[in-house]
Symmetry: C2
Subunit: 210 residues, 2 copies
Amino acid sequence: MEKEISQAVIRRMPRYYRYLGELLDAGVDRISSNELSSRMRVTASQIRQDLNNFGGFGQQGYGYNVRYLYDEIGKILGLDRTHNMIVVGVGNLGQAIANYVKFEKLGFCIVGLFDIDPSLRGKQVRGLFVQMLEELPAFLEDHTVEIAALTIPKENAEATAKQLQSLGIGAIWNFAHVDLDCVEGLVVENVHLSDSLMQLSYNIANHNDR
Amino acid sequence: MEKEISQAVIRRMPRYYRYLGELLDAGVDRISSNELSSRMRVTASQIRQDLNNFGGFGQQGYGYNVRYLYDEIGKILGLDRTHNMIVVGVGNLGQAIANYVKFEKLGFCIVGLFDIDPSLRGKQVRGLFVQMLEELPAFLEDHTVEIAALTIPKENAEATAKQLQSLGIGAIWNFAHVDLDCVEGLVVENVHLSDSLMQLSYNIANHNDR
DNA sequence: TAGATTGTTAATCGATTAACAATC
DNA sequence: TAGATTGTTAATCGATTAACAATC
């Protein structure tokens, strides 16, 4: 790929995708960067800049075809194919993720649930039985898994991440309250809920929205 | 307040807080920006710049006292006091949040659970009974609530947010898959899980970690 | 005091916005 | 063709990094 695209841009792509999806549902079939900009409260310049990192999806004098742009952004984000995912750590949060239908619609397919707590063995969540983490290697012999949602306490997170990586799972959706950046070569996306809550708390005290 | 502090800085504060907490647990009682920088993989310059937005917490020739800095950042983030929170939408995610002990430790105290689904009425989660959203006004007569965690489908999110605001709840921790920026004066922190997953998906395909 | 390390100013880098020529 | 709106270059703004004087 020619030029590395910044995470600032990538972070905005799902938002474009969402707004375009809504336009699609509303039956709108074309939109200018200007109108999209006023709906999304970003500048039209930014929209055009962002999109042009990936290609010219619009047409002068016309704007953007909503369906086409929606699909193209979907492709950019890898939503044109299925991603198998397992949940490691079947506590409350792990179960919530396993039950979240939305992800499935986007192509993120939960194919297994794993934990180390023997008392969870055989528990069923949304049609899947909880398996022991030690069964994962066998499981991977006849399942392809791309992503592991890591919903375990921080104490075991790093060791578990390394273990998952050694089994060939290269991407971690990390809910544990630690950074996993010490694990080389792993693609990690952090969701630090308590960080988010603290940021909210700061903004309450200082009355700043973004 | 003299100068508005950017959200880029605010977003990093919880991370500092976390690393300092770990140092504290490890019995370290002082640290230089330089050593912290190599642990956290950010520049020492950035650490000093970030902290100096809020005041001079260090001492030349010595560095930072871990305990002191930890406490000060805690104050900045509003962790020196309790924040009452309700959960609106007691599905899987709402229940997971209600059960998450960590938040309590940080001073975010869940005092009520609300939903509009009558079949959930009386259901008990972590010692709290689910109440109907229409009971909220009465509930607020003898409870102070600062934050609402909004874990409901996107269709009702905006209307519900407005309703909460009219009842005096000024801060929303928003898990619904819409932006609530149309609601003026509300402090909103978004946790868009599917956005996060899409970003992960992009980074898998393009093998970039951050 | 000498050494270490901060707080802070200045320099650089990157991201956002503005402007406009290209073109549908 | 004239009008609209993109793609893209240039200008601005803000955030990060480097440097160093202040000072413990």
